[in-house]
Amino acid sequence: MFRKVYYWIDERLNIRPYIRKEILDKPVHGRLNFTYCFGGMTFFLFLLLTITGVSMAIYYVPSPDHAYDTVDYLTYQIFMGKVIRGVHHWAANLMVVTVFLHMLRVYIHGAYKKPRELNWITGVMLFVLVLSFSFTGYLLPWDQKAYWATKVGTQMPGSVPLIGDYVVRVLRGGSKIGALTLSRFYVLHVIFLPSMIAALLIGHFAMIRRQGIAEPL
């Protein structure tokens, strides 16, 4: 079935030689061990987070009046809701671990060095995006933990002289945490950050394909 569809498309677009050359038959060092899989694991977790995140977004309403109730509903009333939200939570936590291990492996192997500087830089940007994802996602359930942790977190830039207060107001959409904070965190979490991460991932992967994985030591 899959093969039939593949051949049907290939007959029209002639994609087979391209896929063979660029993906399937791409030479890879024979000595890659499992520590080379942390990047792939992170990407897999990203896919899991996307699927579970979209599933939850179907029910979630980003307003202080409804956020808590809709999270409660999608967790306990929807079929498999507990598992979907659980996978989202644990995949997010595990992603921080795999990103860290991936960076550590690249650092120890000196794989960030010439000619792979740009890949390291996009990687650090992706790392910042992952942290921004977890910070914005934390507020969305609108429970006590979410509210007070975000209050402390968004207060931090306030300590900077001159511009601090302004930054806090931009983050919160006002001086207090409320409906505006929730809607801007929601937009960051489900629209802005995902599009940024998708664009950077394409660059990150394209560069690996172009340069190949750094030679194992």
Partner: protein
């Protein structure tokens, strides 16, 4: 024997099936870990609804922000900005510029004592701060 090994390494293998298989095994493992072990054995909880009037709630950040949270306690008053913004923003900028700062082409860890020492020190400090943040 040595020769055969060398050619094998030089020529390597192809992405499909050898490397893709390895990735699939790892992904399967991650999927089972996340969905069947973590999500089912440690279900994620929903606390009480947010109450802005109840300031008695003591928040604690997620484990990966604990080091910064702990660092804040050592920089009171006017120095707070150093820990709250200076350290995280500074570290990210340094991390981003790393390949431009470290121009040494040597890749083997044993030949890079400074880079390895810095790594160990930073990891140790972060680990200690995280632990202190977790227990206090």
């Amino acid at each position: 024997m040595e020769n055969i090994k060398k050619t094998e390494e030089k020529e390597g293998t192809t992405f499909y099936p050898s490397h893709l298989f390895k990735e699939m095994v790892v992904m399967m493992f991650v999927f089972v870990l996340v969905s069947f072990i973590l999500a089912l054995v440690f279900p994620v909880k929903l606390g009480d609804p947010a109450d802005p009037t109840d300031s008695s709630f003591v928040p604690k950040p997620e484990w990966y922000f604990l080091a910064i949270f702990q660092l804040l306690k050592y920089f009171p008053g006017v120095f707070e900005a150093i820990a709250a913004v200076g350290v995280p923003v500074g570290s990210i900028i340094l991390l981003m510029l790393l390949p431009l700062i470290d121009k040494n082409p040597e890749r083997r860890p044993r030949k890079r004592p400074i880079a390895m020492a810095l790594m160990v020190i930073i990891l140790a400090v972060t680990a200690i701060l995280t632990l202190l943040g977790a227990v206090t």
